[in-house]
Subunit: 220 residues, 2 copies
Amino acid sequence: MRLLLIEDDIALGEGIHQALGREGYTVDWLQDGSSALHSLLSETFDLAVLDLGLPRMDGLEVLRRLRDSGSNLPVLILTARDATEDRIAGLDAGADDYLIKPFDLAELKARLRALLRRSAGRAHALIEHAGISLNPGTQQVSYQGEPVALTPKEYQLLHELLSPPGRVMTRDHLMQLLYGWNEEAESNTLEVHIHHLRKKFSSDLIRTVRGVGYLVEERR
Amino acid sequence: MRLLLIEDDIALGEGIHQALGREGYTVDWLQDGSSALHSLLSETFDLAVLDLGLPRMDGLEVLRRLRDSGSNLPVLILTARDATEDRIAGLDAGADDYLIKPFDLAELKARLRALLRRSAGRAHALIEHAGISLNPGTQQVSYQGEPVALTPKEYQLLHELLSPPGRVMTRDHLMQLLYGWNEEAESNTLEVHIHHLRKKFSSDLIRTVRGVGYLVEERR
DNA sequence: CGCCACCTTCAGACTTCGTTAAGAATTGCC
DNA sequence: GGCAATTCTTAACGAAGTCTGAAGGTGGCG
């Protein structure tokens, strides 16, 4: 799950960033509205957490433009306690949920989970492919009826490769999924994870497309 | 993918040049605005990375003249942290994205990818010709329904020859596509790659135009 | 008929990817 | 708050794939 956090308060941002990172999300953090909008329009995220009071471009403006561009990305907004109008305006502008500062990190996590569940609900259901069954709700995976234990990174990779299968996922795309732009690991971690997946399933499940990336064949 | 980097700071330029080279781009690097503009107008690139503070001709000026000439080449500009006006002026002058120094190389890579994706998006779609179907998104190619494995260079060549077919691509043009002007291969590599393509498809797919270059016939 | 451009082939250099294993980092548990 | 277990990263090396440069062959064109 890749998530964009837009928050200009350094202390708060740091806190959220860490907390969500520990939850297993890949979190990218920006501190102004204009670059946030840029990223939202050009990269792929699963969710955005958006503070409304931002320099350079107001959060509301970001949200409005995002929706104008046709995106239905789940967005949770953060507002100050007394800014009731902002909240309403936020929902009007297309936010999916809001939270009033100061808030409890646990509540933020809960709401994100709920949001993701809801948005996944649009296209939920088990993913079944090549003997693998993957349950996005519980993150449980089985192979030919037997449960398989996957680590978080393995799960993320497999999930990405299987939804939908048949498409080549570039190395870049996968690296970004796992690491955002924090620090791209300058080693071969991707290959190592792929290797582990192949070992846990079948060695020909994931095909290498040399110089490009990996794919799971559509029909097998 | 051929890319022009215009950056006068040697250390930074070196860093970017290497990093992008390692990403598989063909990178040409110039250090002043006037030669940059010249190259941009006379050669073909897929993208330009343009520092705004340059000797001999300001980056903004380069950008403006480039746009005046009718080019819609994707351009990413680099600006100093506090030069807000420059940034705005840059976007006004037709930049597609910007990055504030100092920046993270990973983020630069991500933004370039996004830009290229966006610009490719303008004319995406499968390319179908003479039984060949080529998917620019995934770099997958098939011939008469069967997938064909192409190496990166083969793919680049085929893609160039097919978009659109019917035009003679000069040897010079193709060589530049593959190698930029860094190190022109002093051998017959082009012929070798063409040979491989003919072997993987049909030997009369690519016609030789003696003394000029190669072409794929328009209708077959 | 001879020159020149291009074709074909191939071996060695070079890159990229797979595989391991060990140590670092993180997490969970008491 | 410290220990144990899991997970992730790094690095080294080997395997496989790709590119290059060179040599010799073929065919068009004057």
